[in-house]
């Protein structure tokens, strides 16, 4: 797998699912009817990835990148809205009281990981940062337990979504993050784990990121100049999850727009492997637009 493509983060719900979730909230439809619309939408997202080596369920029923973890532990509550970095979207802060895992991992995982071989999860630092009462270490244990379960149930790839560490440039937290990632890596010996950063220029932190015990680093190229990475030098043992499809804008990327960055990645940066994907969650786009961007990815990956 030298060159590949994949989805990134949460994938947008279809207009039908959007209507259904609204109708459900207003009591116009029941749980079963909603679940049927979800089922069709998962099918849509599955079909969209036909031929992809890495396939994700799109996290369609995740209300935000950390919410499912409130239901994984014995005692946590879901708090108020907080702006999700510099976007017009919001997540709910989680408050953890007892972080021991609630009995049935299988039931939890079957709810939040519906199909595929790529699991997308919050990285320990971002999970910690979006919560109260959860250290990076404990966040690592939670994520590690999930990764271990999924790894033993057929998942080969893990994207750990880590926008916070680069956005806040929190160098002091790097050691703790490293320990947490080591714990996770041990739980999934041999899995491909990528630490996906976005929403910030990674060049000031790239050397530290490359030293982390993960298989790949994800980079948002709407913020980072690839030349700065070439100058800093890449680790030949590390892969790159290259966010070159702008998920914050509906404009379709042309070959002329993508060619310079792809050329540099492939000929000058020379990572161990590279996976082209969205710059961050595809969810920032309406589904019709996201679907068209996935077609671009297919072309880049030579997916028939």
């Amino acid at each position: 797998m030298k060159r590949s493509v994949s989805l990134n983060g949460k994938y947008p719900r279809s207009e039908a699912l959007i209507r259904a979730t609204r109708d459900y909230d207003r009591g116009r439809i029941g749980k079963e009817e909603l679940e049927e619309v979800y089922r069709k939408d998962y099918e849509r997202v599955k079909k969209l990835q036909d031929g992809f080596p890495l396939r994700s369920d799109g996290l369609l029923n995740w209300q935000d990148i950390v919410r499912p973890f409130a239901y994984l532990v014995k005692e946590a509550h879901v708090g108020g809205l907080v702006r999700y970095f510099e976007t017009n979207t919001f997540y709910r802060k989680l408050f953890f009281y007892d972080v021991s895992i609630r009995g049935d991992m299988e039931a939890w995982a079957s709810q939040f990981f519906r199909f595929g071989n790529l699991a997308i999860l919050p990285s320990p630092y971002t999970l910690h940062r979006f919560s109260e009462g959860l250290s990076i270490e404990k966040a690592g244990h939670l994520v590690g337990a999930v990764v271990e379960y999924l790894w033993s149930n057929g998942y080969d790839y893990f994207f750990l979504q880590e926008p916070a560490i680069v956005y806040y440039r929190d160098m002091e937290a790097m050691e703790k993050l490293e320990e947490a990632l080591e714990f996770i890596a041990k739980k999934s010996n041999g899995a491909i784990i990528s630490l996906n950063t976005y929403f910030a220029d990674v060049s000031p932190m790239i050397k530290h990121l490359l030293s982390l015990p993960v298989s790949a680093i994800g980079i948002d190229f709407t913020f980072t100049d690839v030349e700065s990475l070439v100058q800093a030098g890449w680790d030949e043992d590390k892969g790159l999850v290259a966010g070159i499809i702008d998920t914050q804008n509906s404009l379709m990327e042309t070959d002329e727009v993508l060619a310079p960055v792809m050329e540099k990645i492939e000929q000058e940066l020379e990572p161990k492997f590279f996976i082209y994907t969205g710059s961050s969650d595809f969810e920032f786009l309406p589904s019709s637009v996201a679907d068209r961007k996935v077609e671009i990815l297919k072309r880049l990956g030579g997916v028939k």
């Binding site: 947008p12 719900r13 207009e15 959007i18 979730t21 609204r22 459900y24 909230d25 209300q63 935000d64 809205l81 702006r83 510099e86 976007t87 017009n88 979207t89 919001f90 997540y91 709910r92 190229f221 709407t222 913020f223 980072t224 100049d225 690839v226 030349e227 700065s228 070159i244 702008d246 804008n249 509906s250 404009l251 990327e253 042309t254 002329e256 727009v257 993508l258 310079p260 960055v261 540099k264 990645i265 969810e283 920032f284 786009l285 309406p286 589904s287 019709s288 637009v289």
Partner: protein, 385 residues
């Protein structure tokens, strides 16, 4: 417009069920008609014509729908007047909301579908796909109508340039810009600046000017996105200056920003002095509900010290719009007097809710606003005015 502790609203109010159902084609129930009658009587609005139209229950003609909106607008204005506000508006009874409504009236935009805001809440998002052109000023008719029946001065709110840009995709200025290269990154930043400035020049200024020419003298620019991208705050400031242009000495301009990290506005908002006259933020949402004038009780008002250094009139949010808790007049009084200790001059302090009250029922909104005015009156008495 310099009155000590002047009171005003901030944009939206809920739309009555009878108005929503009539416009969206849903069948009106007896309860809806009773609601229209009850509020008409309470606000002393003659509702004979309205009730006659509503009694059709469904299939309203465009003319009938227009009369229904007319009555919801008049009732909303009367509600604010009855609560005792000094400056009034109709709570956006003529509008859908603050993004889709203006964007639909600007050439060059195309709606693609919904994106999620949070949980199961979504909004329709548009992309700019060609040059922007204002079809026609979109708030003039609304002002004309409200002004025809308002007994108090009218303030018209309008979504600002930066927020319209930030909530839209850009397929026009961003076209053909490389990704992942230094040159591309710089061009992206420049494209963003051009988008904001053109929105200000081509859309917002003509709207403000048309309102001025129609007689509007109090205008509010809403910029909830102003602090979303801290590095772009200077662009937001430049966009506002361009939007207001030569109207700055002819119209009283209020700026409303809410649920934001206000600290990133400083020191850039220095550039808005002399352009924006009142700077209104939300505070009550961050505050305790306890009476008192100590910093511990008034934790929500911390940013005032930074803001008071500038020459803006401080628009003070004293009503939390996200709860049915009706602030007692004494709590409102203490919030005002705490702020006055910092701002010093009561003619530099205006009193308002945190934001629009659209998520509250009219009963709750009225109770909150009435107490807000009563709290203001208590504060005036205490300072001997």
């Amino acid at each position: 417009m310099r009155k000590p502790l002047l009171t005003h609203e901030i944009g939206s109010l809920a739309k009555p069920n009878w108005r929503v159902k009539a416009i969206t084609g849903r069948f009106l129930t007896d309860k809806d008609l009773e609601e229209a009658k009850r509020w008409g009587e309470f606000l002393q609005v003659e509702t004979e014509e309205l009730l006659s139209i509503l009694s059709k229950r469904t299939d309203f003609t465009p003319q009938e729908k227009d009369r229904i909106v007319y009555y919801s607008s008049m009732m909303a204005v009367r509600l604010l007047e009855k609560a005792g506000l000094d400056v009034v508006y109709d709570g956006e009874q003529h509008r859908v909301e603050m993004y889709e409504y203006p964007i639909k009236r600007i050439e060059g935009f195309k709606f693609y579908g919904h994106v999620r805001s949070f949980d199961n809440k979504y909004y329709r998002k548009a992309a700019l796909t060609g040059p922007m052109k204002l079809r026609h000023p979109y708030h003039v008719e609304e002002f004309r109508r409200i002004n025809s029946f308002a007994k108090k001065p009218v303030k018209i709110p309008l979504t600002g340039a930066y927020t319209l840009v930030d909530w839209s995709f850009d397929e026009y200025y961003m076209k053909d810009i490389e990704i992942g290269t230094r040159r591309g990154l710089e061009k992206r930043r420049e494209a963003r600046r051009r988008f904001v400035m053109d929105m200000a020049k081509e859309v917002i200024y003509p709207n403000l000017k048309a309102l001025y020419e129609e007689g509007a003298r109090i205008l509010q620019i809403d910029e909830p996105a102003a602090t979303t991208k801290p590095a772009e705050v200077p662009d937001f400031v430049r966009g506002t200056v361009e939007s207001v242009g030569d109207l700055k000495d002819k119209v009283f301009f209020a700026m409303h920003i809410c649920f934001s990290d206000y600290s990133v506005l400083f020191p850039h908002i220095e550039g808005l002095q002399g352009v924006i006259h009142e700077m209104h933020f939300e505070y009550a949402n961050r505050d305790t509900k306890e009476k008192g004038r100590t910093p511990e009780k008034r934790v929500g008002y911390g940013i005032l010290k930074a803001l008071a250094k500038y020459d803006f009139i401080v628009g003070l949010g004293v009503i939390d719009v996200h709860t049915d808790f009706v602030e007692p007049p004494e709590l409102v009084r203490d919030r005002i007097l705490y702020a006055l200790d910092i701002v010093k001059d009561p003619s530099r302090l205006y009193v308002a809710p945190d934001c629009g009250l659209r998520t509250r029922t009219w009963d709750v909104a009225f109770a909150k606003l009435r107490n807000m005015v009563e709290g203001r009156n208590l504060a005036l008495r205490e300072i001997g005015l």
